[in-house]
Symmetry: C2
Subunit: 227 residues, 2 copies
């Protein structure tokens, strides 16, 4: 495995690491670990002490939390360019979420100690981090409202739109990232059967097309009008 240099890595421009100085990035390169994670593999679990941040070079990862009733709830998807585990940098708390690869991923792990003093030293780094957390907080607020007020059908339509907007499509328009019906249910917060039923209904109504796990949106306006 060729160990690429952080200062030359294009990924860093997507996250707070862009605010670091070249010198610091070179130093970080020296102590980071690079990992390939297979589909379905768990990066870390709820309760783990991760003590560092992961920088996602490629692939998609679901961040989930086990609820009291035993079901996993996906809180968010993490994509190329995102950092995972910022919270562990500033608090000593264990992770509140489990990170599972949705497809093959390549990530770099940067130990906490290595970045911690950059936060103290480099104001624009910590400001960037603050902005990032602020954005995450706003998104989380929106999800809370959606979960509380929108129907399952409406939430599923939102998820489909989000996936379409966030990920690449193939020549035919199918979204490159494939999720199981269980994943859809877990994103939306419903029973797997309900997710399956609604996807079938969307297909029947001509809003989406599916081949196996692959999904493509056919009628955007229709999806938007779903209640």
């Amino acid at each position: 495995m060729t160990m690429s240099k952080c200062d030359q890595c294009i990924i860093k421009q997507f996250n707070s690491l862009r605010a670091l100085e070249k010198d610091d990035l070179i130093r970080i390169s020296g102590c980071k670990t690079s990992k390939y994670i297979k589909k379905g593999e768990v990066l870390f679990k709820e309760g783990d002490n991760i003590n560092g941040v992961y920088c996602v070079k490629s692939g998609v990862c679901k961040m989930s939390k086990l609820s009291a009733n035993g079901k996993d709830q996906i809180v968010k998807l993490v994509v190329r360019g995102d950092l995972i585990g910022q919270r562990s940098l500033v608090t000593d708390e264990v992770s509140n979420l489990t990170a599972t690869a949705v497809n093959e991923m390549e990530v770099c792990f940067i130990p906490k100690n290595e970045v911690l003093h950059d936060l103290a030293k480099n104001a624009s780094f910590s400001l960037d981090m603050l902005q990032d957390m602020g954005r995450e907080l706003r998104v989380a607020d929106n999800i809370i409202v959606d979960m509380a007020q929108k129907s399952v059908k409406r939430r599923l339509a939102d998820v489909l739109t989000y996936l379409h907007e966030t990920f690449d499509k193939d020549e035919e328009g199918y979204v490159s990232v494939v999720l199981s019906r269980e994943d859809y249910a877990s994103l939306v917060g419903t029973a797997t059967e309900s997710a399956i039923r609604i996807l079938s209904q969307f297909k029947k109504e001509g809003l989406i097309a599916t081949t196996g796990k692959h999904v493509k949106i056919v009628d955007f306006d229709g999806l938007r009008r779903v209640e």
Copy 2:
């Protein structure tokens, strides 16, 4: 109105302002505004450019967001010692939430410009802020899971427990903060009628006692067992 000094204010120990130097606090004292807000009054609305932070000296405030279906969803309650509007310090975005006083409040408003350069200058201040946002993010994750997976009844039981743990009680054990049934509904994410019904049921089952808007928990274990 006597304008108290920030450096002598006991409230600051509850939030990130504690990380500021005495000199900075004195400077801030000079430009802050102190306000009394009556019950039901709106501090700022979704979409407002608040350009500063509010420090809550007393009283309780609900932070809510209007959903597509026209209902308000309360995302969180803000209490004595909390800061409101940290996000506005680090981004130029408008507020995503509406802040409404639940009872009479006393708040101090500190203009953005006054604190902004402290973030750059004072690392322990920005670190404290990062920790605070990290905590908020974790709480938000938990709420998402609860909204998605728990029943309305269970969520209402959680809210009652939260209120009991967070606020003062009178000699009889009634929680000092009173909310309307509509507020309960809006916290839980349900219809007002449903909230009313479930509160009535809890009362009938001897889990809580109510006199008007005042609520007290009678049977903690019973409430905990609610599904």
